[in-house]
Symmetry: C2
Subunit: 402 residues, 2 copies
C-alpha cells in the first residue's frame, strides 16, 4: 500500500489519460475532455499543449459548431506520425502492421507460415524482414513508439519468453529479446498470448467495448482464452492464466497436445470438428468453413460433428459462465465459424449447466474484429508505454520527431 | 478514465491507508509507516493526529528502543473500542462476533442452525438476538463501525439480497436490508458469499497472506469458491462469479442441487463422499471426519470413497490451476478434511491435467483460519467502509465515541 501520488506523477498520469481518451474514442474537444476527465479547462489546455509540442496530438478548430461563443479546440491523435509495429504469429501466417495512434492500420504485410519444423530463427527473420519493408515505406517524419507481438502459446510477459507452444514445438524461446535485438529500433518488444490480446482488442474496439468482464475464446489449431476480470486481463501469479482450452470437459476423452485427455480444445477445437466430420488432411479456416457449409446444406455427418463439438463447447462456456459471471463471451478465430454452426447446441448446454443468476447476464457473440483481433491486441500492447507516460516513452524511442 | 484525485481525496486515501496498515499488520512506529507509505514524517504525524483525535488509533512510546535519539511513537489500532459485528450463516450453525480493529475477536455467540424449513425471519431473529447480547456486553465507550455477514449462497453484494441458496431453500430474500432494519444500528449490513469472504480472510490473516492470486474452496453441504485475481476478489458483472462448485467435471454424473449433473460439488463434496462411503443419515464435519478416520484405519470402502472423490476434486483443481494460474489453492470447511484424506489423489490428477507452467507455481494448502475463515471475512467486509474513509465512516455510525 503506497501513499497518494506526487504532483509530477499526477501530471504524467493526466497526460497519459488524455492521450488514451483520444486514442480509444477518437478526436474530442477540450471541453469534452475536461468533462470526461473531471478537470478544468486550463489544466486540459496545459496538458494538450505538452502533447502537441511532443507531436502526439494536434489541435484544430471544429468544422462546424452549433453554439455561440468561442468554439472549443478539437484534440486529435497524430495517427499518421505516431505509430507502433504490431506483429502476429498466427497458426497459418505471419503478419506485421504499422498501426497509428488511434488504432488505424497504416500499412501491413503478410507471409505464409512455413511448413514444420518451424524454427524460431526463421520466424524472427521473416518478421524482421516484413517490419523493415514497412519501416522503409513510412514517411521520414514518423516515429515508432513501441513493438508488440501476439503469439499462439504460453508466454512469460515480462521478458517475452515463449515458455511453450505445442503448435510450433517451441519451449523456452527468448522470442521477444531476439526480435528486439534483430529489429534494432532500440525499443523493447512486448509479447503476449494471442487470445489475451484478442480479448483486449475486442474490449477496446470490438464486440465488448466498455465491458469489464469479458471472455474471448480464440480458436486456431488449439483453443486459447483471454479473460478480462474487473477491467483487467487475468494473468495469474506467473502470467499463464486464461488457459481455458485446457479445462478438462470430458474426463478420459480425446487426447490433447498438452498430454492430458478431454480438454476443451481436444473436444471442441478445429481438429475435433474435422475428425468428427471425417475430414482429415486439410486444416484451418477453410476446412472448418467447409464443414459448416456442408451442415447447412444438410450433410448429416457434418451436422452431427457440429452437434457433438457444440455440446462440449457448451459445457466449457457454462463452466466459464459459472466461474466468471462475465457480461460476454466472444468467439474468435475458427471458433467463430464453429460457434456459428453450433450455437443452438452451445446455448442449450448453457441453459442446462449454467447457473441462473450468471446465465441471465451473459451474451454470446462472435468476434467483431475477426482476423484483426489478435493483431490489434498486439498494437494495444505496443501502445501501452506511450499511454502510461507519453513524454518519457517518446524520449526513449530512437527516432524522435523532427 | 478519471483525472488524478484532489488533495482532499488524497488525504482521505492516506488516512485509510495508514489505518489499514495497523489494522492488517499490527502496531507500527511512525517511522515504519512513513517508509511503507512513502510519505515524510510530518505528513504521517498529521494523519496519526487526525486518527488519534477520532479515537481510531492511539500513540505511545515504544517499550524499548535500541537506537539513540528521539524514539518514533508507535501507532496501534484501538481494537477494544472500535469494532464491527461479524455474522456467519453456516451450514449447521449461526455465529455472531464482535471483532475489534486489528482483527481481534472480542466476544462471540453461537446458535445451532434450526432444522428445515429454515425461514428467513427465524434466521434474522436469531442473529439479531445474538447481536444484541454482544452489544449489551460491550463497554459503553465502544463504537460499532460496520456490520458484515457471510452467507452460504449466491448474494447480490450491492444490496445484500440472497438470490439463491439451495441449502436453505431461499430465493431473492432481502437479507441484508431486513437484518439492518431489525438491528437498528443505523449501519448498512454488507453481505457476502461465504467462500468469497473466506478467500479474503485467508489472504488477509491466513494461509495466503500477501498473495494476489489465490483460490479458496469452501466445503459445507456444497462447494463454494472465492477467487482472488490480481489482488481483487473475482466478482463478475453481477457479483456472482466464483461459483466453481458448479463447474461440470463429470458430464452426466451425479445430479446436483443446481439442476445440472456432475458439478464439482456433486462429485467431490461432502454428500458425494458420504454416499460413496455408504454412510447416509448423518452429515457435517463429524461425519466427514469419521470417513477419513476409517480410511486411516484401513477401511477399504472409506478409502475407495476418498479416492473417488479426490479424483474429481483433482480434476476441479487442475482446471482452476490452468484457468487462473494461482499461487495457492486453499481448502476450507469440510473440504479441509476431504483434501487431507485424498491429497495424493488430488496431486496425481493435477500432475496429469495441470499445465507445467501453472502447475509449478501453485501450492495446495488447508485453511489456516479453519472455522473462523468465513467469520473473519465477514469482519473484513464490515471494516471496509472505515478503512476506505475513516473519519466519514465514523461520523456515519450512530454511536460515536464519547
Amino acid at each position: 500500500m503506497k501513499a497518494a501520488p506526487s504532483p509530477e506523477e499526477i501530471r504524467r498520469h493526466n497526460l497519459g489519460t488524455l492521450l488514451r481518451h483520444v486514442h480509444l474514442s477518437g478526436p474530442a474537444s477540450r471541453a469534452e475532455l475536461a468533462e470526461r476527465m473531471g478537470l478544468n479547462r486550463s489544466t486540459i489546455m496545459a496538458l494538450t499543449s505538452d502533447l502537441t509540442s511532443a507531436g502526439l496530438v494536434s489541435e484544430e478548430l471544429p468544422r462546424t459548431t452549433g453554439k455561440a461563443g468561442r468554439p472549443s479546440l478539437v484534440v486529435r491523435p497524430e495517427s499518421a506520425r505516431v505509430h507502433v509495429l504490431a506483429l502476429d504469429v498466427g497458426a497459418d501466417r505471419l503478419t506485421v502492421a504499422r498501426v497509428g495512434l488511434g488504432g488505424v492500420v497504416l500499412d501491413r504485410r503478410n507471409a505464409p507460415r512455413q511448413p514444420d519444423p518451424f524454427h524460431p530463427e526463421e520466424v524472427v527473420s521473416v518478421l524482421v524482414g516484413l517490419s523493415r519493408q514497412l519501416m522503409r515505406r513510412a514517411r521520414p517524419d514518423t516515429v515508432c513508439v513501441g513493438v508488440g507481438a501476439a503469439f499462439s502459446g504460453i508466454v512469460r510477459q515480462e521478458d517475452g519468453v515463449v515458455r511453450r507452444s505445442p503448435n510450433l514445438g517451441w519451449t523456452d524461446v527468448p522470442f521477444g529479446a531476439e526480435l528486439g535485438r534483430r529489429l534494432g529500433l532500440g525499443l523493447r518488444v512486448s509479447v503476449g498470448n494471442d487470445a489475451n490480446l484478442g480479448a483486449l482488442a475486442e474490449r477496446t474496439r470490438g464486440a465488448g467495448v466498455g465491458l469489464d468482464d469479458l471472455i474471448y475464446l480464440h480458436g486456431d489449431v488449439g483453443i486459447g482464452g483471454g479473460v478480462i476480470v474487473g477491467g483487467r486481463l487475468l494473468g495469474g501469479v506467473g502470467g499463464y492464466g486464461g488457459e481455458v482450452g485446457h479445462m478438462v470437459v470430458n474426463p478420459g476423452g480425446r487426447p490433447c497436445g498438452c498430454g492430458s485427455h478431454g480438454c476443451l480444445e481436444a473436444e471442441a477445437g478445429e481438429l475435433a470438428l474435422l475428425a468428427a466430420a471425417g475430414r482429415t488432411g486439410r486444416t484451418g479456416r477453410e476446412a472448418v468453413a467447409a464443414v459448416v457449409d456442408a451442415a447447412d446444406r444438410g450433410d448429416v455427418t457434418a451436422r452431427d460433428a457440429l452437434h457433438r463439438v457444440g455440446d462440449w463447447l457448451g459445457y466449457g462456456v457454462a463452466n466459464l459462465v459459472n466461474i466468471f459471471n462475465p457480461a460476454m463471451v466472444v468467439f474468435g478465430g475458427v471458433l467463430r465459424e464453429i460457434y456459428l454452426g453450433s450455437a443452438a447446441q452451445v446455448r442449450s448446454r448453457l441453459a442446462l449447466a449454467g447457473l441462473g443468476a450468471a446465465r441471465e447476464q451473459v451474451r454470446l457473440r462472435t468476434s467483431e474484429l475477426g482476423d484483426e483481433a489478435t493483431l490489434m491486441g498486439a498494437a494495444e500492447l505496443a501502445f501501452a508505454d506511450v499511454l502510461a507516460d507519453p513524454l518519457e516513452a517518446l524520449a526513449r524511442s530512437k527516432n524522435p520527431l523532427p
